[in-house]
């Protein structure tokens, strides 16, 4: 994807484990649905259920490339004075958050993320609309980023 940001920016991407997690999030429900439908089909003897089951598998398979593209759209770059976060395939978004504007930084890890030892870093500014979120960072990278951002934020903090 072509980047809106200047060319010299060095983009970092979330961990490749995020891609695995996102794929599982698509494949597992699709397979579960397919199995459940197949069981229903076998019990009740309706052929249509098998068709729907096959459809679920097909939808899961078709979704995989989309998952891949969405994963590749994520990126962040630490510039001198601000953090860039890009995301989105259909709606390509690029957020510029100056370090001095960050109020606090959230690091969260849901149960699935924890299994893959991933974490999500979220930046908060005084503006509610700021949507700077970086999911799927390896936990040590998340900690590093949080500490680095906190340090830069403190150094450049600007009053409202």
């Amino acid at each position: 994807m072509d980047s809106v940001a200047p060319d010299r920016v060095e983009w970092r991407t979330p961990s490749s484990r995020l891609l695995r997690l996102r794929r599982l999030e698509v494949v597992v429900p699709a397979l579960l649905a397919a199995v459940a439908l197949a069981v229903i089909g076998a019990v009740s003897g309706t052929a249509a259920a098998f068709g729907v089951a096959a459809g679920a598998v097909l939808a899961g398979v078709l979704a995989l490339p989309i998952v891949g593209r969405r994963y590749r759209s994520w990126g962040y770059a630490e510039r001198e004075d601000d953090l860039l976060v890009r995301r989105g395939v259909l709606f390509a978004r690029l957020t510029v958050v100056p370090y001095g504007r960050m109020q606090f930084i959230d690091v969260t890890a849901g149960p699935l993320e924890r299994i893959f030892s991933l974490a999500t870093v979220k930046l908060h500014t005084a503006a509610a609309a700021t949507d700077a979120r970086i999911p799927g960072l390896a936990q040590n990278e998340a900690t590093r980023l949080r500490d680095r951002l906190a340090e830069l934020g403190e150094a450049q903090a600007a009053g409202l």
Binding site: A5, A92, V96, V97, P98, G100, A127, A129, A158, L160
Partner: protein, 435 residues
């Protein structure tokens, strides 16, 4: 640092005023007791309730005290859970004087200090005797400016004369403007519909009145609140910044300190545009309210000019946003296919210190954001925009109400604008930090 001064209490009638409608309700409750003197025994439950309420009010007054300590305002309150809060005066965004109807009857007023920060804490001194409010406010403002506290209470009254009135709203124009505003039209539609129903069949009208009472009351309340707040609103330029005075029943006085303005918005509703009227609002930091603060939370924006001509509004904008960008450029013609309704209103421009955008479907909304107040920038390119070679940049500010968006710009222009705005905002923040 001066020696801590004596603790002071609020006005003894504070609980009565703070009770507001509750107090009026108690007064009504007392009427039958006063009239039916012979059946005192039946009134015992009411008497107990009233006694408890009066006692609670008295205790809350007794345990609340405040004083100025150095650069902090220190408020202590609470009987069982004692709360002691210090408000650093350097963080004060603005100090308002609020006088609800009941407070005016008792000649008291509330002093409300709005603090900076996302928590949006508000220090309230409710209520103080009316004559003490002005000197105290001036003193707190002087402290907030970092001036020395030598109690210049006698020097201050001259401030009133220093004010230069910039704009005052005509009552008739305000009435007309509310009548043709969005809420006004809805309220009128409801009332007219009700009147027609009443004429056609009084029977149905009664049913509507009982069923739609909520709607009727809420429509009337909204209109009334707007009128009450904006009645004879006066904008003046004073030593502390812009002064706002106004109100019909509840009088408010508010000071907007320069440099605290997060964004300015000018709204030209569809029906007003024929006469060239507009409304000017400012977004100040620290206006977010906590949950449950109710009524106050509605007023996210502070109205500077409820209704006035464009030229006057732009004059005020010049005061709030020096170096206001001019000559806004419209988007490329193909943006029409993306935003057909907004297309005629879209435009943007920047100067070295501010960005200006216009948008809106029926009404036109112009927004100005000083670049040093920009919280973040978002570049968004949707599917339709990609096909047309367009993109939007959202300029995020601390308030919720102003959406300054460079909508549907040419892709090359938006890329360049994003880099430029980020750079200019950085420079503006630097300049502000060193100043």
């Amino acid at each position: 640092m001066t020696v801590p001064e004596e603790w002071q209490r609020l006005h003894p009638l504070s609980p009565v005023v703070r009770g507001g409608r509750g107090t009026i309700a108690i007064g009504i409750l007392l009427v039958p007791i006063a009239l039916g003197g012979d059946k005192l025994s039946s009134a015992v439950p009411q008497m107990i309730v009233i006694a408890v309420l009066i006692g609670a009010g008295f205790v809350s007054w007794l345990v609340t005290r405040w004083r100025v300590e150095g650069d902090d305002l220190h408020i202590e309150t609470g009987l069982l859970r004692r709360r002691s809060i210090r408000f650093p005066l350097s963080q004060v965004q603005a100090i308002d004087v609020i006088r609800p109807g009941l407070a005016r009857m008792f000649r008291v007023a509330e002093l409300r200090l709005r603090m900076a920060g996302s928590s949006g804490a508000t220090a309230r001194l409710a209520y103080l005797p009316e004559r003490e409010v002005e000197p105290l406010r001036n003193r707190l403002l002087a402290l907030a400016r970092g001036a020395r506290d030598d109690r210049p209470e006698t020097e201050q009254p001259s401030e009133q004369q220093e004010e230069r009135v910039l704009a005052q709203v005509d009552t008739w124009r305000l009435v007309v403007s509310i009548l043709v505003s969005d809420v006004g039209v809805v309220a009128e539609a409801i009332l007219v519909g009700f009147a027609i129903a009443a004429v056609l069949s009084p029977h149905a009208a009664a049913a509507i009145a009982s069923g739609g009472a909520v709607w009727i009351i809420s429509a009337v309340t909204v209109v009334w609140r707007r009128f009450n707040q904006l009645y004879r609103l006066r904008v003046a330029e004073g030593p502390e910044g812009l002064h706002l005075h106004g109100g019909l029943v509840a009088l408010t006085t508010e000071v907007i300190r320069p440099g605290r303005v997060q964004a300015v918005r000018m709204v030209e509703p569809f029906l007003w545009r024929a006469v060239g009227w507009c409304r000017l609002e400012v977004d100040l930091a620290g206006r977010q309210r906590r949950k449950g603060e109710g009524e106050a939370a509605r007023g996210q924006m502070r109205t500077l000019l409820p209704v006035g001509h464009r030229a006057l509004a732009l004059e005020l904008v010049d005061l709030l946003v020096p170096d206001r960008p001019r000559d806004l450029s419209p988007p490329p013609r193909r943006a029409f296919w993306k935003s057909p309704l907004r297309y005629r209103n879209l435009a943007w421009a920047r100067s070295d210190s501010a960005v200006a955008t216009t948008s809106g479907r029926l009404r036109r909304i112009s927004s100005w954001v000083p670049l040093e107040k920009v919280q973040s920038l978002r570049h968004v390119e949707g599917p339709l925009q990609r096909r047309l070679g367009l993109a939007s940049i959202h300029v995020d500010t601390a308030g919720k109400a102003v959406h300054a968006t460079l909508r549907d710009r040419d892709r090359a222009e938006s890329t360049q604008a994003l880099a430029e705005l980020a750079e200019l905002a950085r420079a503006a923040r630097r300049a502000q930090a060193t100043a």
